[in-house]
Symmetry: D2
Subunit: 442 residues, 4 copies
Amino acid sequence: MISEEFDIANPTQTDEYLTYYKRIRKDTEDLASPLAIEDYMIQAMTNASPTKWHLGHTSWFFEAFILKKFSDLQKTQGLITEPYTPQNEKYNYLFNSYYQDVGTPWPRHQRGNVSRPTVQEVYGFREYIDSFMLNVLDSNLRDDNVEVLTILGGNHEQQHQELILTDIKYNLSINPLYPVYKKTDTLQPGPTEIPDLEFVPFDSGVIEIGHTTPGCFAFDNEMPIKKVYLEKYKLANRLVTNGEFLQFINAGGYRDHRYWLSEGWDKVRTEGWSSPMHWHNIDGTWHNYTLSGLKRLDLNEPVTHVSYFEADAYAKWSGKRLPTEGEWEHAVRTLGITPENGNFRESGLLHTRAVTFEDIEQQKVAQLYGDVWEWTASSYLPYPGFNVLAEGISEYNGKFMSSQFVLRGGSCVTPVDHIRPSYRNFWHPDTQFQFSGIRLAE
Amino acid sequence: MISEEFDIANPTQTDEYLTYYKRIRKDTEDLASPLAIEDYMIQAMTNASPTKWHLGHTSWFFEAFILKKFSDLQKTQGLITEPYTPQNEKYNYLFNSYYQDVGTPWPRHQRGNVSRPTVQEVYGFREYIDSFMLNVLDSNLRDDNVEVLTILGGNHEQQHQELILTDIKYNLSINPLYPVYKKTDTLQPGPTEIPDLEFVPFDSGVIEIGHTTPGCFAFDNEMPIKKVYLEKYKLANRLVTNGEFLQFINAGGYRDHRYWLSEGWDKVRTEGWSSPMHWHNIDGTWHNYTLSGLKRLDLNEPVTHVSYFEADAYAKWSGKRLPTEGEWEHAVRTLGITPENGNFRESGLLHTRAVTFEDIEQQKVAQLYGDVWEWTASSYLPYPGFNVLAEGISEYNGKFMSSQFVLRGGSCVTPVDHIRPSYRNFWHPDTQFQFSGIRLAE
Amino acid sequence: MISEEFDIANPTQTDEYLTYYKRIRKDTEDLASPLAIEDYMIQAMTNASPTKWHLGHTSWFFEAFILKKFSDLQKTQGLITEPYTPQNEKYNYLFNSYYQDVGTPWPRHQRGNVSRPTVQEVYGFREYIDSFMLNVLDSNLRDDNVEVLTILGGNHEQQHQELILTDIKYNLSINPLYPVYKKTDTLQPGPTEIPDLEFVPFDSGVIEIGHTTPGCFAFDNEMPIKKVYLEKYKLANRLVTNGEFLQFINAGGYRDHRYWLSEGWDKVRTEGWSSPMHWHNIDGTWHNYTLSGLKRLDLNEPVTHVSYFEADAYAKWSGKRLPTEGEWEHAVRTLGITPENGNFRESGLLHTRAVTFEDIEQQKVAQLYGDVWEWTASSYLPYPGFNVLAEGISEYNGKFMSSQFVLRGGSCVTPVDHIRPSYRNFWHPDTQFQFSGIRLAE
Amino acid sequence: MISEEFDIANPTQTDEYLTYYKRIRKDTEDLASPLAIEDYMIQAMTNASPTKWHLGHTSWFFEAFILKKFSDLQKTQGLITEPYTPQNEKYNYLFNSYYQDVGTPWPRHQRGNVSRPTVQEVYGFREYIDSFMLNVLDSNLRDDNVEVLTILGGNHEQQHQELILTDIKYNLSINPLYPVYKKTDTLQPGPTEIPDLEFVPFDSGVIEIGHTTPGCFAFDNEMPIKKVYLEKYKLANRLVTNGEFLQFINAGGYRDHRYWLSEGWDKVRTEGWSSPMHWHNIDGTWHNYTLSGLKRLDLNEPVTHVSYFEADAYAKWSGKRLPTEGEWEHAVRTLGITPENGNFRESGLLHTRAVTFEDIEQQKVAQLYGDVWEWTASSYLPYPGFNVLAEGISEYNGKFMSSQFVLRGGSCVTPVDHIRPSYRNFWHPDTQFQFSGIRLAE
């Protein structure tokens, strides 16, 4: 992504666009392929949408923001003779997520209660969209706007690829049969010993964060470049492990209000939190539910499915703190670490992986990319001079800039070509169902 | 059912039991057959269970109350060598509805969030149960208890057959695509003219209601026979029609608190009620959603999908009242009306049917059976001397005897051999999703 | 009240009306007199209105239904020269309870959040109303309608007198300081021994219930006379005691679903019910909170502050049942028992009283009147031929006829001249804060 | 406060401590003095505590953190012979706000439902505390810890003084009688013309914010000093006025989702927001409810009672943005503006005041202090190196550092000696009931 040669995430030629579009679209369908029809339907909480909906929504995105939008324009310009016709007008209602500009979206919590279109019909809708999109991309209908929006649509679809995996994990997890999404190598034991936790120092000064690579895609919320003053700080050389987090649990961490933010403590009490999400203590032995089913908890793997509140409580308990997003990004840039070596979706594990001595030797600060999204102590707010995307697509990111925290680095279910140093993920501080974990700082 | 010859609902011989059991089980599956896999999954409100769950639950019923229960006993008696083994122990959790005696039931509102077992696996579970049940019924494992519980299980399954239809109607109805469950003859227009509403008089006196036919099945809540003193009363010769109910709407009935019970008026305001459920005013023309899809409202058909609150408000507005269950049952018995001529599920319409002059000529008081369940002004309470069913199955009916009203007569989705003069259906007064309608009295 | 001589509850002469009106109004203020200003304000749950509101509402009743209503009429007739002018137009909003006809009522749950008018201003409002009312009653402005509505207003105010006591009991009870409303003789120990529970038989047949005394006041819901067929039954000779109910608790009654109606069991679990309301187990000793403060539980006193669900569960556990309202009223009429000997508000205890051997000797079935409202197994429904009160006041009773159960006999906080054989109280089956108790039948 | 001479907010000598303590305590009671007893009791929403509770809580603070805490220590040291005895042990429950360390607090939403202790008893509790506190301050019981905690307690009480006013404003405001807290000069018309909105430029660079005055009190959340990099920015020369905000309303600002953060738009729809809190459109004329009662809206006064969501939406609509807390503090420090000239509680208005040409001439950027708290675009997060207060009092500020935004500058109900350049107020972004307003930046 940051190389100068051809970059699969940033096409420039027609054949590159075609390849790019097809690849993204196929990846989505590959992720859905292990599922039974019934699995496509479930939505066990409002935040965890059905796979079927993701398949439809990511197609609707191209319809709403490219095919419909430029259709009239292209007709006027004589590029086409008939404007684009939606396969079904009601899909604009059913598959709209939150774009008020495009119309009232179908209620979010009702996504799982819609049996029609069927899964097969949704795949048909995908094909319908693809045929038009490929036609547009392979013709002089493709202008700058289309190019920009196609790449945006691709990145949007990659975000939903990750959501397909986190959502289906949650949706299957509430089933007492603990269904398996797909057997992976997850169950192979990791290293029996891992490196000690150490803190790597960084200097103070004014640094820059944000998107810095012209010609490469980035979301609006990564721009413009922001100058930040950092005090001297230290960053942990690896993520917090399950074993370390278990010590927090065993020390009564979930029962002692002093470690918790007030809103977090409310959650602990009203929701009865006593461990990370997906942990199960079965006859005294800790297990966690994974996309490969229930497995014995590996103490050396990084802890995941913790909320910001849990991450912050753990940090307080251990006498440390969480890093800011500036500290995280500065470390990545200073150390010159690239995503390629991270444990991303492409590893096929779809699960966290214990750090090795080798990782730390090579990278000094290991696991910055992949495995788990790292909660930062930074609120999700605009960078100075922030501009939302153009009219129509302006609701993409900006309107969520309240009450959320930034996470960095991508996880084991993020596609590797979707991440970069400036990438900002964001979730409410009580969110547990994402692959989110803990990096300490001091 | 009340004839003296062989009665399909009340077997006595082995072959009759086998026929009975197979028929009931097949009926259930026939009802599910028009559905897509996706349709089996949906639960758009807590009260409207997924079809898949109904298929599993009605099978679990035989497992929990016959196969498991008598297995140990039969082993002791040397009738079998191995006790019954459940196909999956967790089905006892997932498919239990409300039987606390049998264990904690899976949360009702979560029935639609369980993708596994798949639909196919549930059919496999049905076959598994059937093979054991047929074996039991066809052998000297069948004793009195098994016979009683088999008939109970059959009647239980028929109740769920009706629920499959009412629930799927609701679950499909919220979809803006208005999916069709099955095309029927519903769309054929009924008679253009129907008889005037008239009121047929009945004498006062002490009468008897309740189950009176020895050897025939009835639920515990229909027994023992109850003596009731009735004042002189009159019963409407037919049900209230859509056209008549539309006059109530047009007269502002939904906006005038004076016609409403206090709890009903709260519903009108908080839920925004302004017509029966499933009515849609599209560009000024009233339609209603049916199992055959959206159709133009037929003004001559009986109004349905009204709550007790709406039925009572309509009655008050028209200067009449709803009959008591004693009045209803006395009329049926006095007039000697039998279910056979009613519009039940077997008609294939799965929808209401307008009354004809001939109906009234033949029956004096028409539509007492079939078409819609008739709200009565009677609370659902035990008859004097009521005893719940035996230990184990005692939770079947008795524990619901608070805050509900009795409905009588069966509807267009009730199997005809499931109904009888003493049959008591019951729902909370705000229930709209059942095929419930209005018979006036004075 | 059922004597032929002058009846304080049923005036006929001018001086009787003046006496009646003044007595009722003074009683209300006497009940409020032990309270601090702060106590007048509290509303710890929606159902328990502040005393200040009761004082205002009972005055508003005369304004809304007499003073305002007949003012114009009286002006036309030349009886007055100026129509009645409200002291404050907004009181019609603030002090309306649920009369939609009179305007939108101030939200019920907000009654405690209104500091103005102050308590003193509300007493001023009472005086204002009284001066007009006394003028009307003492003049030829008083016609039949005014007479009927004055008596209704008096009975209405007596209902609120009882509510002032039950509501302030609840409102004070949640305070960890256990404030005392008024020290009474409650703490004197009752008899150390009480009569055995025995069941007194009654014959079967058609009997009559309802209001039967011409010239005496009764609510619309007690009329017209209703014929009921009763099977032979037996009624307990006294109420269930705290000691007996404690056995139910100790036997695990609150943990065994088999005794509970389904909706009751939901309450037990979601609200954590484990004893009657106002019971406190302090270091192993049972106490109950009373209007005289916290006291040690007297095992011989009748149990009170139980819901219908608890009463019904207790009855099931003891192998008995609750009586119907027909059975209760028939017993009272057959035995010729009158309210005079009951433990009503006039006893000054404001608390239950243990039954004595003498009570039972004299009355055969003791405690039918007073001490606690007795839950019956009858739903609150209209009698055949029921007519609501005249236009304007028609919302008084009829609109609550769904989902509630009838209670009979009055309690230790009911004024004795407010009760009669046909009196029907009604509450939802989960209500605990009333002085409600248990009479068994079989 | 930032002068070198004697500072009323930062005592050092015994007599200064006594003066300080007495002044703070008296101020609180002066604020309560216009209220009727009934007014002390009301809590119309969970967030708006009753005045009576504030009076008790601010006294409890001294009991819990000084009198109880050092009592044993002082006894050991021979400074006292008897340890401090609480007046009532249960006040530790009733008057604890959120200090888990000190015990479970009485439920926040129930503060208005506790009539005892009465108002008079609470004043008695205040006297009781005062007698002990004055004794401690005037003796060698006063050590460094006591001094620090006394000043903290004083500042704590000043925060509650402001809350007494904002809470009582809300609590009275829901009353349709629009009660007057106290007649002030508010109703005098302001200037008929005010200066144009202009933007004053500031340079970029690394600046410092946070508490910088040794020997003066500041909260933990203002420390340590934080270095911030600021881009060049401009700050509006005055606050946004009612008239300007009315243009936003009239332009449909509350109906156009594009100006709103997603969570704000949810509030607009679910709560029906259509103007700032306390605005009433009466027959086409805008009024606002003030502590002096309802008055006609003055278009020149700064808009107040707007949430962050409304402030941000207004800023977006006007093509501007809100300043960060760094920008705000830098402007104050650069311009050398001090609180003294602001419209604080001491002005006696208890209401906003229109800016004058003179204000702007003198200050360049006017109204930075007083009138309204200014929403900043900064989340409420710790400064690098933040340490919570000592054990016991550690819950004061730190645990609220999630999901809130910082406000700066104090308001017309803040005591002037309570504010300083580094003072950070914080509220959730949906908060309207505070005196919060809008300063634009670009």
